[in-house]
């Protein structure tokens, strides 16, 4: 095929979108509707995911040293924890800071109960706050820290806490929420494909005659297929571009109107910048693929004349 012919196919494909005005409109409409629903759930899933991440990131490990551990020992444990690859950050919490934290967590009346425990009377141990890169790994890291005692005859660590039991339950819930979101999005993608394929089948059915005539004057199959292919891509891209625009605009409006209320609840939704790349890339490529798939499948059916 010559370059001139490719240019012709490109031109014909573009022209066909306009020649078949209503049919193009209908196909684009079905793409917009189904991708829109899909997009809404994608945004929902993204935010649920982010929320789950936020909750999970608050999980950290607290390590308490034995009261008898001396400064050198504390330093050594600090270094050893820092060397565990999963660990993001180790913060030393002295017994004084520990007491201050305890005081903060109590209400005014109860605070006075802590009076007299300052300085040498402080019964609390020194310790560390340990942050982990992947919150799902806290149990594993906690176990490793606990294991220091096995190699050290001084048994310098008094205890390792990370909300055992509660954390596991939390992760079960966040994982379930993520998986449900994924299943819904996948289901909607299948539904979108079905809806769009029906519309495209209808538009091609209307053009069965056209294809038959093309064959009659001696057009090769690829000659017939190319403009349909271009048309499919254009309709798919057009539809998904419209969807992306509507979706992102709507989402930015949603963020604007809800940011105050949600802010009070300490919930932070993903910003438009955070989601726009993913949403646009997914929807546009999905739209183009749907267009191509629809036109090739349907044209092939009528080429066997």
């Amino acid at each position: 095929m010559t370059v001139r012919t490719y240019v012709r196919h490109l031109r014909e494909g573009v022209k066909n979108v306009f020649r078949n005005g209503w049919m193009s409109f209908a196909s684009m409409g079905s793409i917009v509707v189904s991708l829109f629903i899909l997009g809404v759930f994608m945004l929902l899933a993204l935010n649920v995911n982010k929320l789950a991440d936020q909750i999970e990131s608050q999980v950290e490990i607290r390590v308490y040293m034995d009261l008898n551990a001396d400064k050198a020992k504390i330093e050594e444990v600090n270094r050893k924890i820092g060397r565990i690859p999963e660990v993001k950050k180790v913060t030393f919490v002295s017994k004084e800071e520990g007491l201050e934290r305890l005081r903060q967590s109590l209400d005014d009346d109860a605070r006075s109960a802590l009076d007299g425990y300052e300085n040498e009377h402080n019964p609390l141990p020194d310790g560390f706050d340990v942050e982990v890169f992947d919150p799902q790994k806290v149990a594993y890291v906690a176990k490793q820290i606990k294991a220091f005692n096995e190699t050290d005859p001084d048994k310098p660590i008094y205890g390792v806490y990370y909300g055992q039991g509660t954390v596991e339950k939390l992760f079960r819930i966040t994982n379930a929420v993520r998986n449900i979101g994924l299943v819904i999005v996948a289901g909607l993608a299948v539904m979108a494909m079905f809806l769009i394929s029906t519309t495209i089948k209808m538009t091609i059915l209307a053009r069965r005659r056209e294809i038959a005539i093309m064959k009659l004057v001696g057009a090769t199959n690829s000659f017939i297929r190319w403009p349909f292919f271009v048309e499919g891509v254009l309709i798919g891209l057009g539809g998904s571009a419209i969807t992306t625009a509507i979706l992102l605009y709507g989402y930015s409006q949603l963020l604007k109107t809800t940011q105050y209320d949600l802010g009070l609840m300490m919930i932070q939704l993903s910003s438009v910048d955070e989601v726009s790349g993913f949403i646009a890339a997914t929807l546009l490529s999905l739209g183009a693929l749907l267009g191509i798939w629809g036109s090739t499948v349907s044209v092939r059916k009528y080429l066997k004349v």
Binding site: M1, T2, R209, I213, M214, L216, V217, G218
Partner: protein
């Protein structure tokens, strides 16, 4: 030009449309195919432009063994056969010019050549002034003229016309016949299936009559031979 040796066509559902067909149509002939409805005329035409394949026998068009033709070669032999139908079969969204030019775009002819030949073809059928009209804006006779222009634009060796005047009034029909005769005069073989008694009996040509799937009569400058 067209040779059929003991050709038969049986459709998948078991009906035999044609059997024992032996016929030779020479270059530059003008042949009417007549016979009652359902006798096998349309199948006879479809075999020539390879819409159908014979189930038995051998069929040559323009030197090609049509029955043995590979699927991907079909478009290329069709470019040498112009086809005209009762229902015109124009692309409704394309103008008269575009409909005719399409047959040349398919063979990837240079733009200049397409332009020149398309205008020549439209001029021959007398529709140069309606080049930009859509089929819906044209009368039946005019649409058939566009279809004829499309059929001849690639200078085919054969034109297969399946009841080209079937949908037209007598006066318009005569216009179409004049045109076909002119095309035939310029050297194109024409095979035309028809029910039009007046045309066959007035414009005398070779007549092949098909009844119940076989040729029952084949005479030069023949008559229609049926009542209607």
């Amino acid at each position: 030009m067209i040779e059929m040796h003991d050709v038969a066509k049986t459709y998948p559902d078991g009906t035999t449309a044609l059997s024992g067909i032996n016929v030779v149509i020479d270059r530059n002939e003008f042949v009417y195919i007549v016979g009652p409805s359902g006798a096998g005329k349309s199948t006879f035409m479809k075999l020539i432009y390879r819409e159908e394949v014979p189930t038995k026998g051998q069929l040559f068009v323009n030197g090609f063994n049509i029955g043995k033709l590979k699927q991907r070669k079909i478009p290329f032999i069709r470019r040498n056969i112009g086809v005209i139908f009762q229902d015109f079969r124009l692309l409704p969204k394309l103008s008269a010019y575009e409909n005719v030019a399409f047959a040349m775009e398919v063979i990837e002819a240079p733009k200049k050549v397409i332009r020149r030949r398309t205008m020549e073809a439209l001029e021959l059928v007398g529709l140069k002034h309606k080049a930009s009209s859509l089929p819906a804006q044209l009368s039946g006779g005019e649409q058939q003229r566009v279809a004829i222009a499309r059929a001849i634009v690639n200078n085919p060796a054969v034109i297969v016309a399946d009841e080209p005047t079937g949908n037209l009034d007598p006066e318009t029909s005569w216009g179409i016949m004049k045109l076909l005769e002119e095309i035939n005069f310029r050297g194109t073989t024409i095979v035309m299936a028809t029910h039009n008694k007046d045309i066959v009996n007035t414009l005398r040509k070779r007549v092949i009559a098909i009844e119940r799937g076989t040729i029952v009569r084949d005479e030069p400058k023949g008559e229609y031979g049926y009542d209607s």
